[in-house]
Amino acid sequence: MSQSVTSDSPETSKRPSANAEGVTELQDAVIRFAGNSQDGIQTIGGFLARLAGRSSREVMTYMTIPSTISGGASIFQVHLGSGEVLSAGDDADFLFAFYQHSYDSHIGSLRPGGICIYDSDHVEVIKTDADVIHVGVPITTTTVEAIGGSARDRGKNLFVLGLVTQIFKLNKAKIVSLVERQLGRKSEDVLRNAMLAFDAGFAYPVGDLMGLEFDLKQGKIQGADKVTTDGNTALTLGLLAGGVRYGAAYPITPWSTIMEQLRVELPKYGGLFVQAEDELAAVSIALGFAYSGHTAVTGSSGPGLSLKMEALSYATMAELPIVVINVQRGGPSTGLPTSVEQSDLMQAIYGSHGDCPRIVLAPQNVGDCFYIAVEACELARKYSCPVIVLTDQALASRIEAFAQPDLAAFVYEPVLDQATRGEDFKPYPLDGLTRHAPPGSAMAGGKYPVVTGLEHDEWGHPSGNPTMHSRMTQRRREKIKDFGKTLPLPEVFGDATGEVLIVGWGSSWGPIRESVMRMREQGRKAAAIHLRHLNPMPNSLDTIFAHYDHVIVVEMNDEGIYGYGQLATLLRSRYCDSKIKSVCKTDGLNYKIREIIERVGSLINPA
């Protein structure tokens, strides 16, 4: 929490300080809600995030959901700000604790001087930490009373939403309209009870108890309302815009919400999404769609991607276009199904048998999930190969606000090309891009193509000729290399020359960027680049590396037997540069800003 009205030393200020009217103006606030998964705390977070998008505020959320179905501890953290919000926040400024276990587990996540609002019906406070303001509110009993004494405490989340609206002087009318829009679709009773709980929270004299008043500043740019959604939804919409009309998959966390949405959305576009009996069938059905002339998608999480590998090798050999979404989670094996990790990079690039080049992309934030999906579709069509998108659990579930994409510029209307192919038709010309003739296309020469996983000649005819295998292997490799040549160097964020360059990929874009900003504020010459194209990578990254004393790759995977993370290993292999070093971790959590700065610092200046 940084304040516009600050004490003498802003860096060390522990307490929010008030202006003349006793109101503390906040630039941003990190609010953590801790409860159980059935309390609907994600709902509060969702409303706050959407409100932020409507108020030109930046927002980033973070949540944990237990991997069991019926409850368990769950948190939702919202970082709201009037300036740029790049991370979900290292420490919380406000904690709402629903239960004793929520309090015990999360009181430590509150920054010194932070405010803990707890349910006094459930929580007994250990008043040892004098540097936390404790405010007890009988959340459960007040909610039950407000709804009419049904003895059920459903609605506590709306009560707390009312509290939050009051505390931060949020736009009540906007919040109420959001609640009505979302819950009005359910029964009248649900909406009435929700509003009773909300009003009770809004009217509860929590401000008197805190002795503090806050005002969260509006964002400066008053533009169009922003879109507020999670990465899986943004990615789904990107696939639809990119021309995907057919797909198949098998459910697995955290991929499932993409297939659920595609199953419902695709019929509106005249398309179809099939739930397959297993991962092998899923990728095979999708390849059936691709062979038939459509832009097709399949997806999964790490374990499922492993199962698809044989068929993806076929897709490289037969040069069929297919988009594969992999929502990474903690591995190996079942691992940490609801935690984030970036440990599928090598699998995505090298996981199949044989020399099997393909394109691998990674979105860097929620909005980018849309754009990367559109790009994946374009590339699959252009280069007739598998395109794997490596998103992750953090992006899948977190909510961010971003400007609506210019849809007219990004929407691709798919066309099924069944034109008669000429007598000279060759699907795999040695000197050009792949040209498929989907079934239904007449062949003027009278000879029809058979698409095969056997090595083949330019006509697709099986060939065991040693020279042909070399030339075709080269052909499949060169088209991917050619795509690499078209990639611009990534933007350098920060100092153009200096002490340290941080290299990142995927969902850690925000925390890395914020770390670089902080390091530069501390007087260090630092910069970051973020790779969205991981295979192929843009060429000549070494021309950027040359401007820094240290190149440090920050990623969420293990340092491996040889001491380097997966992207760091690739960069060292490509550039043979010993100044490339690795910061890795495998705790299943997003990087904190503090963590990146400390780890990078200790590599530069070893103790």
Partner: protein, 307 residues
């Protein structure tokens, strides 16, 4: 989009013939290919609408020998790929081919699911009770005691019963024939192709190299008996009571339980909606409800709901 403005041309066996099959001389699969050509000649399916799909195995080389759009896919996954083609291209005639290893072992799960979903396609299994391409290992249909390279003292595992598996799985057309009975094979193929839904034909097709003589019991020329199912004619005669009702699932199981070589013909045939029809109904009703909306408008309204 489609530019097939060519004059209608009669489809002949010559048009359909591609590479000379790489099968061993005497292989039962030659007759299956010849019968398939003859049925296509009879049905006159437009040439460019024929799509043959197979996985891996001797019989799975089939698409190379048919001059038509085709896919030689990976081991065991011909049916899922064919499912994708069938569901997204109602204009095509989709045929899947394979053997007992591809269909009943590595692809066994897909067979059950393509069957229960009643995907509109025709699947022809050339069952030879042995792995031929990899040179004589035990297959899921190898009888107990069969000596192979993986069971030198004789197979010990109970073989699967393909007909029971197919009926249980929910295939809406299930038939059995023998590669030496070309006329019967053609009749069954034609009925399978004309059947709307998932139709499967199990063909006993001898591997003359690794399991010679195994199907002689079903071949009258080798002293066996080709016992054809007597189907009900619904003519109210007393004889008709004893005939087979193809819509009776229990009767199909009884036929499937007969001692080898058993009976040949259509075991089961039922008319139920295909996945193709059901999915199309959903697409149609969805689009009817929303009216004519462009892609950009559809996406715009989704984005608007998230503001």
């Amino acid at each position: 989009m489609s530019a097939t403005a060519e004059p209608t041309k009669v489809l002949t066996k010559k048009d359909l013939t591609a590479d000379h099959p790489t099968w061993c001389p005497g292989c039962g699969d030659f007759a299956v290919l010849a019968s398939f050509f003859k049925v296509l000649e009879k049905l006159q399916i437009p040439h460019e609408k024929i799509c043959t799909i197979a996985g891996i195995g001797c019989s799975s080389r089939f698409p190379y020998f048919v001059n038509g759009h085709g896919v030689h896919f990976i081991h065991g996954r011909a049916l899922p790929l064919a499912t994708g083609v069938s569901l997204s291209r109602p204009d095509l005639h989709v045929f899947a081919f394979g053997g007992d290893g591809d269909g009943y072992s590595i692809g066994g799960n897909h067979l059950d699911h393509a069957a229960r979903k009643n995907v509109n396609l025709t699947y022809i299994v050339m069952d030879n009770f042995v792995y031929g391409l990899t040179k004589k290992q035990t297959s899921p249909t190898s009888p107990k005691g069969f000596k192979s390279k993986t069971d030198p003292t004789g197979s010990i595992d109970q073989p699967i019963n393909p007909m029971k598996k197919l009926v249980y799985g929910g295939a809406s057309f299930v038939a059995r024939t023998h590669a030496v009975q070309v006329k019967h094979m053609m009749e069954v193929f034609e009925r399978a192709i004309l059947h709307p839904g998932f139709s499967v034909v199990e063909v006993l097709s001898e591997c003359v190299i690794f399991y010679p003589g195994i199907f002689d019991d079903g071949n009258p020329r080798k002293g066996g008996a080709f016992d054809v199912i007597d189907e009900k004619k619904w003519d109210n005669t007393p004889e008709d009571l004893d005939r087979h009702d193809v819509t009776d699932e229990n009767a199909a199981y009884q036929l499937a339980s007969l001692q080898y070589p058993g009976k040949f013909g259509v075991f089961y045939e039922t008319d139920r909606p295909t996945k193709n029809q059901l999915e199309q109904q959903w697409i149609d009703s969805t689009r009817e409800k929303q009216g004519a909306v462009s892609t950009v408008d559809l996406l715009s309204s989704r984005f608007a709901s998230m503001k």
